[in-house]
Structure formats: C-alpha cells, structure tokens
Amino acid sequence: MVAEKIDRVARPGEIPSAVGEAAREPDELDDLYREIILDHYRCPHNKMAPGATDLTCSDRNPICGDELTLGIEMQGPCIRRVCFEGRGCSISMASASMMTDVVKDKNVEEAKDWIRTVKDLMKGVGRKSDDELGDIEALKGVAKFPVRVKCALLCWSVLEKALARQDGTRPAHGEEKGR
C-alpha cells in the first residue's frame, strides 16, 4: 500500500491519530529520479522507429494514456535488437531505454526472466543482485510510488505481449488490469 506521506503540525487539543502517521523522507524524490534514470531519459538508447521487418507491438498505460511501441528484431529464439518509440514520462522512457540494452542478444527465456525480475522489483521483491541488475537497479525506487509503477512496467508489458504473440502463449493476467 502507499506509504503515508502526509503530516501536519498537530493543533492544540487534537487527537494525535488524525495527524500523518509516517515519518517524512525528504529525499524520496531522488530515490525515484535517480541520476541513471534521468540520463536514460535525456539520452535514450535505441529510441527510433521500428524497422520494416521488426516484430512490433504497442500498448497504452491506462492511467495516463501514454503509448509505447516496440520494434523487435528476432533471430530464431534470440532477440537481436529492440528499439522503441512513443510518448511517456521519464520513468517509462528510461525503463524502455534500459530494457533495450538488457534484452539485446538474449533468448526469449532470458527476456522473460527479466520481465519477471522487473515486475517483482516493483513489488519490492529482489530476484537479482544489484550487480546483476545493472542500470535496472535504479528502478527500485519506483516501487514506493504506486501510481508510477505502471510507467516503469509499460515497456515490459509490451515486450511480454510481443513474446507471447511470438510463441502463441498469452501474457499472465493481472498487469493489464485497472485503469
């Protein structure tokens, strides 16, 4: 659930319980917008139109309406290259940029493992060490911002959809839900 971020100076005679419950964390903003994220946002990797022969797939973040399209160049069971285009916030763009790096030259199973890893990260569950995560580690802070989790996951859900379509399976239910 969302962390309590509201506090207030108690007025005289006030019941303490009406006052914000959690200690404030003034540097949470930096947890969300880590330097690595801002770098990817300002200079995204592989942000370009998909090639004519790419496997393409799009989806929309229902919360904000932002849309993201992936272009995937496959070679057998192997992802040769992923590019993306679309509109979105820094988190979604940075996440997509990082994703194109990390799944490059991975096979489908490895990519799916990355999808699971990032989804778990958004629930605060770590499946890989910070070292293994590399830049992706910077997405950890998003978990504290529930409304932004969908931003971070947008590209990953599109990838999941694309791979499912590729091998005929359907993506796990759940992430698509909500509005």
Binding site: I6, A18, P62, P146, K177, R179
Partner: protein
C-alpha cells in the same frame, strides 16, 4: 475492540451503545428508543471519524492524482473494496462495484444484464415480499424488453411459498430476483436452496441484501447468488453509498449503464472503449468519503462478529415476539418464531391506524416507522394499507423492547379511549 468476549458470543450492549453518541439523545423529553433500523441505522463514532479524517486530512479526488492526498485517498478507496469482498465472501475485489445504494445496484443489474439478455417471452421471477427497489426495476426492464414479470406468493405465515416459487420458475425464467431478508416481515429467505433451483433452470439469481448485510453473516459464494446488493446506511455506514457484488464473468461481459470520467479506456468521437471491471461501472466522481467510511463500518461489523450480533438480535426479536403476544388487538406479521427471521417486526392494530401509532409512540420517544415500507404488493397480500414496523439493531436492548411495548399499549389505550 473486543466487545464480543471470546468463546461466548454475548454482546456487551452498553459498551456498544457508548460508540453511538446519538443514542443518548432525548426526544420530546423522553429517552430516544430508536427502532427504525430497517430504514437506516445509526453510525458508530468510528464511521464518522473515518469520514472526518478524510475531509480534514487528505481530502482529494481519487485515481490519477499524483500528489500525496490523492494517492492516499485512492489507496483507501480501493482498500474498502477488499474489505467488502471479505465481508460478503466474494472471490475477488473486482467483483465489488460501489453504487449509491441497493437501489442503484439493482437498477444496474436490470439495465445492464437485463437489457442485454432479456428477449420477448423471457421471464423474470420476483416475490410478493420485494421492496419496490427489487420490483420496479424489473418491471421497467420487462416492459422495455417484452419479458414477463412473475411474482411468487407469500404464505400466511409470511414465508415464501416454495410450491408457488417452483410453479413460477419455468424454462423461460432468465432472472430470479429476491430479498435475502424482507424489510416488512423479517423473513430470511432460503437463498441457497432457491438459487440452486433457479440455476438448474438456467436463471441468474439477484439478491437484495439491504436488510441482511448488517445483521447476518453473508457469504455470496455459499449463497450461490450471481449478484448481491446492499446499502451502507443500513449497516452502520454513511448515506450515499452501497455496493453491488457481481460474479466476475458476468460483470466482465456487461455494458456500463452510465458514461463519464473514470469508466473509459479510450474516448474518440467515433467510439469509446470501457475500463475493466469494476471501474467500468463507477462513472464520475464516486462518493469517496462515503466509501472510506463504509470501510470503517465493515471493520466495525467484522470486529463485533456477525454471529454475535445475530445472536443478540435474535434474543431481542424473540423477546419482542413473546411480549407482543399479550397485546390485545395487535397482529404481528411474518414468521412467528425467530427461526429464519431477522429483527424486523411489522404489526397492525385492530383499532389504531399505523400512522397514529407511530405519532403517539414518537411522543414517547419511540421511533418506529408506519407506512407501506415501499412494499405495496406485499401490503395488498397482507390486506392492509400500511403497517407499523419496529426493527432492531445491535445497540437495542430488552429495556427498549419494554419501552416499545409500553408505548404501544399507551397508543392503543389512547385511541380506544380506555
């Protein structure tokens, strides 16, 4: 709170009453004896506090808000969905749709599921004991679609006539709509059995739980119903909110009945796609403070434990039934014992019109309701224009039952002129 002592389900009524400041009031100089709980219950302080806390410390519109208040309000709002799910034993929070109350919930099913699925010649089966809110919506959709509205009879004892129910349940019945508890007779319908019969005929089962949710343990999956509707204000929650439970696969296939903010996927001039359930059915700004306060009411009910509440209310009902037996010229409608009976008592006096009864009793501080109770078909069946109705809640006491009987006798004497 541990008002229900463990392993011995006896409610500490005095402790409960302390949670309801309004009960200390005096009316016309007499202590208030509030016995109109079937119309609306009072609210415990925790419910009022939940609402005040929202308005005073994080009031904001929910969903989509990126700032602290809105995030907190949204999270609390959605948490209540899970609380209601737990309260009624739904399979998933998505099966809970917030509405203005029972009436809107039942209309939603009639207009969405009904309009889409009813054809000329289809049948809708209701019972003679339905509240207008579970009668008129079906009549309206029947008229619109050419379906036929049928009505199962009530026995002289005020129970559903099972034979007549079966006779009216045909291969063309698409919908069976019935009250879990009658708001006039107190009758608890055997919903699980009736649902089984209805399902074998291929009908869906819509249950009006307005009088049950605050009084009985409710488990929609054990009941086997497809839809279940109730109002917060009859279960210690605020006015302006209620809920519809719907089986996920049914809800998923349903069209929204209202368009607006929050229920859409994408809107273009040409076409609009809908959001997933339950948001598809929650158009516009919802009663946010009210939903949050409903959450507090659910906590309150679960905390006290509904078996314990039920036992207390059964004791009151049984005591009242016994005392009423000695009231000359007073007829009590509905089942004669507390078996299959909720704490709602309707009565008619031979000599005194229900409205006169209610007026005199009011002057004694006793709040009862007189009228047709939005159940005109049932009034016709009972052969009366109106009844006087006393209905109990968990904060009522046997002393209050005594005050009620005293006042009833006072009213009788007053009009009889003895």
């Amino acid at each position: 709170m541990a008002l229900a002592a463990e392993r011995q389900p006896v409610l500490d009524v005095q402790a409960v009453r302390d949670l309801f400041p309004i009960l200390e009031q005096r009316v016309h100089g007499k202590p208030l004896v509030y016995l109109d709980n079937a119309a609306t219950t009072q609210r415990p302080r925790a419910v009022l506090d939940a609402m005040a806390e929202f308005y005073e410390s994080y009031n904001a519109n929910v969903h989509r808000g990126i700032y602290a208040f809105s995030e907190k309000a949204s999270a609390r709002y959605e948490e209540v969905r899970s609380k209601v799910q737990a309260l009624i034993g739904a399979a998933a929070p998505e099966e809970i749709v917030f509405t203005r109350g029972t009436t809107e919930a039942l209309n939603l099913v009639a207009q969405s599921w009904g309009r889409a699925n009813l054809r000329e010649g289809d049948e809708i089966l209701v019972t003679e004991m339905e509240h207008h809110s579970n009668f008129v919506p079906w009549q309206m959709v029947a008229k619109e679609t050419g379906a036929r509205l049928r009505c199962a009879r009530v026995t002289d004892e005020g129970r559903l006539d099972r034979e007549d129910f079966r006779a009216n349940l045909t291969g063309r019945t698409r919908i069976v709509a019935l009250a879990h508890v009658s708001n006039v007779l107190g009758t608890i319908n055997p919903v699980a059995d009736l649902a089984r019969e209805a399902h074998t005929r291929g009908a869906i089962v819509v249950v009006d739980g307005a009088q049950a949710a605050g009084h009985l343990p409710v488990d929609v999956r054990a009941l086997g119903c497809d839809f279940y509707a109730f109002s917060a204000h009859k279960m210690y929650g605020p006015t302006g909110v209620g809920a519809l439970y719907g089986r996920l696969d049914l809800l998923d296939a349903m069209e929204p009945t209202m368009g607006g903010g929050g229920m859409i996927g994408e809107v273009t001039l040409e076409r609009t796609t809908w959001a997933d359930v339950p948001h598809r059915f929650e158009a516009g700004t919802m009663p946010i403070a009210e939903v949050i306060a409903l959450g507090a009411a659910v906590d309150f009910l679960l905390d006290l434990d509904r078996e314990t509440i039920r036992a207390h209310e059964e004791r009151l009902t049984s005591y009242a039934l016994a005392r009423l037996k000695s009231c000359r010229g007073v007829k009590v409608f509905g089942p004669p014992t507390t078996a299959g009976r909720a704490p709602v008592l309707s009565l008619a006096s031979h000599d005194v019109h229900p409205h006169d009864l209610a007026t005199v009793m009011d002057r004694d501080g006793v709040a009862v309701r007189a009228g047709h109770h939005c159940a005109q078909p049932l009034m016709r069946r009972l052969g009366v224009g109106a009844t006087a109705r006393a209905s109990f809640a968990l904060y009522n006491t046997t002393d209050e039952v005594d005050a009620f009987i005293r006042s009833l006798e006072h009213a009788e004497a007053f009009f009889r002129g003895s």
